[in-house]
Subunit: 360 residues, 2 copies
């Protein structure tokens, strides 16, 4: 009897111990098998001439015969213990970096931690010419132009200086400041091809995985799905624009923030996107009709074109879903669904979808 | 007997299980209690005028009444399970970012992982106007000027295109390419005060810790030691320049790469640096005499001034040590000691020093 009692106690301890090592979700510890960073993709400028170390004057550049490596992406990855089959690759949007997926503006866990705890390997990208991947093969001028009230509205936090009544964004001053400080500029012009190439190289390197994009990252994401057979699914949070097959390009859609067009690609390429499951998520406070609200307008057009994209995918035999969160009873999401106050609920939706598609 | 055997087996399993949770060094798993990122420091530009959302023309900026948050640092942190008393704060050098401390160019673990496995909390900084902390309150123009052969020499990998015979740098082409791709540009002019302020704010936020700097990060590191009583020790890998008390500034030292001066500060400020243990490490292939080798020359002067700095600290009652690695039998280190082929040995030196100083 005494032995049996000790056995039970030890067995319980053992159970908790093993849980700590294999299940990241329940006990608070993140247990990683591996983490690190690397560059992927990019090109090399070889300047003509011959390098001569004698041409040196107080670090003034003499490019003769020298090289410049640029236009690569930077990737930080974490592989949890006992990880699931497909890694998740995260590509940020305009003016952002991999930070988009890290700690939220009010200090909660972002998708990096949430999905690591769910035992997915995560690959967080700084796209070429952004963040830690700053060496660009094209020049740029960066100026401190005050623009944050515009982004506040475009990102659907509210109508400055007010918050939307139902907004899933923290209302304290410090959180808004943190949110603004997440932005980081282009160090060279945005080039969807350059970004796509780096994403294709990333999937060449890591093998099959699921691509998760946000906003402006949507377009290079679709291109990566066309160009890499290792992209097994695409999840897109409020993408900027879309691909359509040749001859099926919808009329451009006009709104207060501009004229939105899709991009035509050969049918054979478009068909690649019909071979993988695709899901798009859109948040709240997006205009149903034309209005004067920048955020409502900007995403009204992008949502409308997204509906046509999903129709085109499915018309050609694909499996695309567009989720408008208010229509399933989830209200108040900004453009940054993955860091909103209800981001666990948003992550749960994604987990459910991956499970449904046999991707987890 | 049967019960006893089962008990032993379960006890062994339990032992391994517990080890997996609490000792990061021996079993390959990184066990983290917490990880995340945040901004710290920085300023806000408030543009005069009134924000008007009607002034919108295809994302052309109308700064009237808008704000711009910039000049903060970006910090990524990891707190291992059962972490040691003092966190380590890592500040990179010129043209670099926090990547400096992550995976090495040939794919080995950098100081981030090495010291996390040794149960130190790590805080990796992208300094203001660099990497993910790109929003700068001053403008910058970034051009793709080929300069890598110069850096190859300045960083003491060899004399282009040759490697130093004893160099602790991987000799394959891919590693060199990865190394070049670690660089990322300033998105605003280097400003030691701006960086110092963000480091002081970081130590305000996290409390007492050990500051580890590399190269150009050395100078804001010394200033942070003066300005924040939470800096309990400074470790500096090949710092760029140094502080001296008023009236004790050494003569500038001239070399092929420029004229190197220290910076004068009030004695009361300098005395702050005599209250904490300080260690400087320098690698190999640094010139003993004047030569034509850019790398040997650049670090000959900075090492010489470093000796005078250490003398000044100790003359005023402090505890500073300068370690020239070849003098203790460690050869071939480049300017990037912490990612060289022998970086475990370099990390061991630091661990020993922290132990000796009662810092671990």
């Amino acid at each position: 009897m005494k032995h049996a009692a000790i056995l039970i106690i030890i067995a319980l301890c053992l159970f908790w111990g093993c849980k700590g090592q294999t299940d990241n979700q329940t006990d608070g510890l993140l247990v990683l098998k591996e983490q690190g960073s690397f560059s992927v993709g990019g090109t090399i400028i070889q300047n003509p001439g011959t390098y001569d170390a004698n041409k040196f004057d107080n670090f003034k550049p003499y490019p003769d015969g020298q090289t410049f490596h640029g236009d690569h992406a930077y990737v930080f990855y974490q592989i949890p213990d006992n990880s699931r089959k497909y890694p998740l690759v995260f590509l940020h949007g305009a003016g952002q970096s991999a930070r988009t997926w890290e700690t939220t503006a009010d200090g909660r866990e972002g998708f990096q931690n949430i999905f690591s705890r769910r035992r997915f390997s995560t690959y967080l990208v700084d796209q070429p010419r952004r963040g830690k991947a700053g060496r660009s093969t094209v020049a740029a001028t960066i100026e401190p132009i005050a623009d944050e009230q515009m982004w506040y509205e475009i990102f659907r936090i509210g109508i400055w200086p007010n918050y939307f009544d139902n907004v899933q964004f923290p209302r304290d001053k410090k959180s808004l400041e943190n949110f603004f400080r997440q932005m980081t500029p282009n160090t060279g012009g945005f080039d969807a091809n350059v970004i796509t190439n780096s994403m294709v190289e990333l999937f060449n390197k890591i093998g099959q995985g699921i691509l998760i994009t946000h906003s402006q990252g949507g377009l290079p994401g679709w291109f990566a799905g066309v160009k890499s057979s290792n992209v097994k699914a695409i999840v897109s949070y409020e993408p900027g624009t879309y691909l359509f097959p040749e001859g099926e390009l919808p009329e451009p859609i006009t709104g207060r923030t501009g004229v939105l067009s899709g991009i035509e690609i050969p049918m054979a390429d478009f068909k690649k996107l019909t071979q993988i499951p695709i899901v798009l998520y859109f948040g709240d406070n997006i205009g149903k009709e034309v209005s004067n609200d920048l955020g409502a307008e900007n995403w009204r057009t992008r949502l409308a074109l997204g509906r046509l994209f999903v129709e085109a995918i499915n018309r050609h035999g694909g499996d695309a879903t567009l989720v408008e969160l208010p229509e399933i009873g989830i209200y108040g999401n900004t453009h940054f669904l993955m860091s909103d106050l209800n981001n666990i609920e948003i992550a749960d939706l994604l987990s459910d979808w991956m499970k449904e598609k046999g991707l987890d």
